[in-house]
């Protein structure tokens, strides 16, 4: 606190009378009063004034009170109370207040009735018609519990089958050979001109001229030309080359020359080729070919006449897809290719087991 003087002595006086001065401040006050005796009289004559509070009640207190805040000007509160009434959220007091309010207001009473109509009742005539289709039999339930185990076991068996039975590279006598046919659209016949090696990984770099010179093992056959597709069918599409025929170098510009790959064992490509030349639908040489084509078309969505060679790997993939469909699992079986586009590995992945196996090469 600042020093006491004639401009601020009132503050010291009040604090003194309230008993709020420190002893040191009180000492200074008395020194000041000694120097200013006129002010000492003022302090002595000062009498504190006490004002007692009057207990006068406010006469219209009850009129200010509100029970549920309902009045004519506040319709949103009425709406809220109506909705809460429908929802069963109103307290007893609020319900009473709402009823009293509506008794005195016919318009709000009508609105309340409309609110009550917004409560929707379920239409019991609507029934689900296919209830029986949803139900499951006990046997299916038992089988379902075994699905994961069945799936894994089946997949492993299939993989083992794939590992041992997938056709290996270069193990078939005609796999890399090309048969060259000369066709004559007018006569609808053809003859085999040449059977040559298809460039493989070992001779890919050979120039065409050198490739042409390479001697081939040619099986001799008396009938040098095949007159129709029926003849080919009879021969089981075994490529016959006639030794006595001169071997001509192939010219790419010759429009009459056609190339077709001779497949080992499965000769559908050749069949398709010939039938395609005659604008006919392919016929299947046996039941296996038919099944392979049909399954390939329907399950694997392979376009017809795509000439995709069927492998046991395809069978394995269909089986895995079937297992996935039955069990809802996500087992995968995929081929992994190297940079030359050749199959390098087969990868298998399921919840319980995952492995990768390389393809054997001879």
């Amino acid at each position: 606190m600042t020093e006491i003087n004639r401009h601020n002595y009132e503050i010291f006086f009040i604090d003194y009378l309230d008993g709020n001065l420190l002893p040191s401040q009180e000492k200074r006050l008395w020194l000041f009063l000694k120097e200013n005796p006129d002010l000492k009289d003022e302090l002595e004559n000062f009498e504190p004034v006490e004002i007692s509070s009057e207990k006068q009640p406010f006469p219209k207190k009850q009129q200010l009170k509100k029970t549920v805040l309902l009045n004519h000007s506040n319709s949103s509160i009425f709406d809220e109370l109506c909705i809460r009434y429908i929802e069963g959220d109103l307290s007893l007091k609020e319900k009473v207040a709402l009823n009293e309010y509506m008794n005195n207001n016919s318009e709000k009473s009508r609105e309340f009735k409309i609110f009550k109509q917004t409560k929707i009742k379920a239409d019991s005539s609507i029934l689900f018609p296919d209830k029986e289709k949803l139900k499951k039999s006990a046997m299916f339930f038992a089988l379902k519990r075994l699905y994961p185990y069945i799936a894994v076991a089946a997949s492993i068996l299939l993989l083992i089958a794939v590992y041992f039975l997938v056709p290996q590279k270069n193990n078939e006598p005609y796999s890399n050979r090309i048969a060259v046919f000369e066709t004559n659209p007018a006569q609808e016949n053809f003859k085999i001109l040449e059977l040559t090696e298809e460039p493989t990984s070992t001779n890919k770099s050979l120039p065409l001229a050198e490739t042409e010179k390479q001697p081939l093992s040619i099986e001799k056959k008396e009938d040098q030309s095949i007159q129709s597709a029926d003849d080919i069918d009879k021969e089981r599409f075994r490529v016959a080359a006639i030794e006595s025929l001169p071997i001509h170098p192939i010219k790419q510009e010759e429009s009459t020359l056609k190339l077709a790959k001779v497949e080992p064992g499965i000769t559908k490509n050749t069949v398709d080729y010939f039938y395609a030349q005659h604008n006919q639908e392919p016929e299947y040489t046996n039941l296996t070919s038919f099944l392979v084509e049909s399954v390939s078309e329907r399950l694997m969505e392979t376009p017809k006449n795509e000439n995709k060679k069927f492998e046991l790997f395809d069978l394995a993939r269909w089986s895995v897809q079937g297992v996935n469909w039955l069990t809802g699992s996500n087992i995968t079986l995929e081929k992994q290719y190297n940079k030359d586009g050749e199959t390098e590995k087969i990868n298998f992945n399921s919840k319980l087991i995952a492995f990768s196996t390389p393809i054997r090469e001879k």
Partner: protein, 161 residues
Amino acid sequence: MTIEQYNKSVDLYSDAVYRFILKNINQTDEAKDIVQDTFEKLWVRASEVSFEKVKSYLFSTAYHTMIDKIRKNKRISSVDEYGSIDPLHNEHYTDLGEILNEALKQLPDVQRSVILLRDYEGYAYQEIANITGLSESQVKVYIYRGRLALKKYIGSMEVLI
């Protein structure tokens, strides 16, 4: 859940789920598909869902399947859309049930769903919140807005009738 409990669930709740979905989308075939999908999902997870909670699971799964389908069909309306419905297009209705159905159709999807769950199944706010993935407060707000819109619609139609 055992197979007996699953089949009992079909008997007990398939009608209710079907009604709920049908009232929401008004397409019989799609409603059937959703109910079938819902029970297939239940079947796949039968070992995880207890019989006591199967009803909530079914309604929740059906609701979300329906929302996915609606979104795919690009028919969903904004969840914040206020239920402003125009009764003047439906002057030919004379029955209160028809009026209410028509009003219900015109509500925003989320408001319609919460009101149906509340009125058809008598679910509490928190249960509706669990089924729809909304908060309890949001459920209350949507029920309030939906009822207010229905009341306005019915009131307008009463004047017209």
